[in-house]
Amino acid sequence: MNPQEKFYWLMGGVAVLLAVASLVGWLLQRGAAHRGGSGVIDNLNARIRAWWVMVAVIAACFLLGKTATVVLFAIASGFALREFVTLTPTRPGDHLPLVVCFYILLPVQYWLISDGWYNLFAIFLPVYGFLLLPVLTAVSGDTELFLERVTKLQWGVMITVYCISYAPALLLVDVPGYSGQNLLLMIYLLLVVQISDVLQYVFGKLFGKRKIAPHVSPSKTVEGFIGGGLSAVGIGTALWWVTPFTPLQACGMAAVIVIAGFLGGLALSAVKRSLGAKDWGSMIEGHGGMLDRLDSVSFAAPVFFHLTRYFFEL
């Protein structure tokens, strides 16, 4: 199969999956309507509708190519950073570092991807962004809660810009015999992460009993994680033909993606709670905010990227 055919098979599969989900959602809705409606089912249907839109956006980017994909992720990062900063208390003295984060650090990080400058991409935010932000805050002269304010901003930029940018950075990995297909590898990552999230949610709702971290994320259960995680690894393995991996390698990669994604969801839930919120935002109906959808991606993407680069690049 050539990359184009792989893409159409993959998207066709996703479309069938979503069509089935929409049908199930519609049937559940009809059943629930007799009993006066259900919040869970309304939320489920809102989520499915949002999925159609998200899949359409990803597919459009694939067809438009590399630049469109990088721009899309830059915008998604921008929304995620906006959500993070909106929930984080800031003071007038943080204005300059905030402006720099949104209008300089974020665009430069994504420009480095489209430029293919991997070495600077990898250290730009963790080293130079890290050093620059406290300087800018200090210049503003407000030392009240200085360390807390700087740390929160650094944390937000690392998660929402640096970590998320690893997903489109998969375009930079040069796997022998796989050239020109890196966008498929990125879609593979997104697909496994998101299917894992969805299936963990579904298994949790159906069979969930034992909560993994009741104080952090009441919706995460042992049954949901095992059932959803294993199914997602199964799907990730079955999609080996999209990737440069053998079925066994794809299985291992999918397992890493699922575990990293789960841990990301957990850690970011804790951050969210400590900021006093249930959702990061409200821009994606049924899902919450952009960061509610990308929390697991932000952890899975760097790990997947480095494993692929380390083991499969010459």
Binding site: G78, T86, T90, P92, H95, L98, V99, F102, Y103
Partner: protein, 198 residues
Amino acid sequence: MLSHLLALLVRILVGARGFWVGCQPAATLRIYYANHTSHLDTLALWSALPADLRAKTRPVAAKDYWSGGGIRGYIARRGFNALFIDRSSDKRDGDPLLPLAEALQRGESLIIFPEGTRRAQALPSPFKSGLFHLATQFPDAELVPVYLDNLYRSMPKGTFLPVPLTCSVRFGTPLQRHADETKDAFLERARQAIVDLA
């Protein structure tokens, strides 16, 4: 055209989502009054209104800041169709509220910031008396309290580039002046209505 573009830009940049908590959008004669923390306030509140109401609602802007010849003046006049008010008491002649009263008589709603100037804080400071005089002269106008959230973080006093935070615009329950209410009691009650929305 410019108005629509401007409203779109504001909405993309700072969200400016309107939440109608205490009333619904309506074409009745209204005076929207809000807390004032940022140059973006006027634009944010005005952008949060539905387009048809926007056309009949005039933000009241400080003459010394907004009425210049440059881009600010252009945006104020052509963009959001501002009504200018003279803040400097020594230079002005006559009643500074006159243009506002005339606009209300023509049936145009107003957006005003009764603190008179921008404050670097989440909750509003005590109000100046303009709102009281308008409420007395126009007892039929609905006074809609509006709380602007986060704009003081997006573009605080003294800065020029807005940080794209998600800002919200909350519209409260309209109030009117009671017949025998004193100026101070009325202004405090009006201020409290905004605090309650915060």
